[in-house]
Symmetry: C2
Subunit: 178 residues, 2 copies
């Protein structure tokens, strides 16, 4: 099936991991998907933690409906620490999970899943510093490059980018084919 006309929301805030966000956006775009950057405000520029990448948000969460996206992706770095305090972005994640849309988080991105209260009972991976937070939220932490549990896809770190993007594409295509 064609991926044309399908869009993935990628959540952005200051402090994202430059390599991870760039890799996710490039991987999805190359695969034929539209990427919509959703940040706290529309049309604002956000900077990576290493200052190597800047992105401009297309949309604020108030204008975003989870059902219009084929998936939601969250890069790691320190942006998730900010994203998890933005109710609109956290609500978008929760709505996407409730609607069965694939939600994919890399590294510290899993912090947003904790704040969206969607971790309990799930097997997940993440950056090791927050493994205890996943466990305390009722999740089962495992140290594997990429973990898929239902519609939730998680990865440890930037090294896992190829497998992470491949898992997102598989999940989108599986929904499209269903």
């Amino acid at each position: 099936m064609s991926r044309r006309g399908q869009a993935v929301a990628v959540l952005v805030e200051d402090g994202f991991d430059d390599q991870e966000l760039t890799g996710i956006v490039d991987g999805l775009t190359t695969a034929g998907l539209e990427v919509v950057l959703v940040g706290p405000l529309a049309g604002r520029t956000y900077t990576g933690r290493h200052g190597l990448a800047t992105v401009t948000s297309h949309m604020a969460p108030g204008a975003a409906r989870a059902r219009t996206f084929a998936a939601i992706a969250i890069a790691g770095g320190y942006a998730p620490d900010r994203i998890r305090m933005r109710h609109g972005l956290v609500d978008l994640v929760r709505e996407a999970v409730a609607a069965g849309r694939p939600v994919a988080a890399m590294g510290h991105g899993a912090q947003v899943l904790i704040s969206a209260l969607v971790v309990s009972g799930r097997t997940m991976t993440c950056w090791p510093s927050i493994a205890v937070d996943i466990t305390n939220a009722g999740g089962l932490y495992v140290d594997r490059p990429v973990v898929e549990d239902g519609s939730i896809i998680t990865a440890r770190k930037g090294d896992d980018l190829p497998q992470f993007v491949a898992a997102i594409l598989r999940a989108i295509d599986a929904r499209g084919a269903a």
Copy 2:
């Protein structure tokens, strides 16, 4: 009683909040206490998240015994995300709590308390992004400038520095007078 001869261990790693670490060190030193900077390695330089402050560690955790310190303090920023992955530093915090020494954490510093497994049943405050992690760890999160629960002292952010340092000094003096 005199504070002379008493030392406070301040935990350091890259990414500490510049204002918070500087404020804690200055406040304790001005009050007559010795400050010992304990980092993953001795004699290494660590840089604040804003690049405004650098510090050189005096000691690695392998050389530090919790009972030799009058208290332990942890600044916020992104250093706690690194400190919580250093088993030696986390063990030092756990030993200090077990020994009844005051342990004080500001902002994200509470992440280290989560990893040290000392949060359950405690009333605490922290930077709001991690309030859910405190709750999931069995703590009771409250939004107050400084919270003292037994030997554990927590504060929200840099604005709370004067009250935070005052609480550490009170706890040290109370132990000395006991």
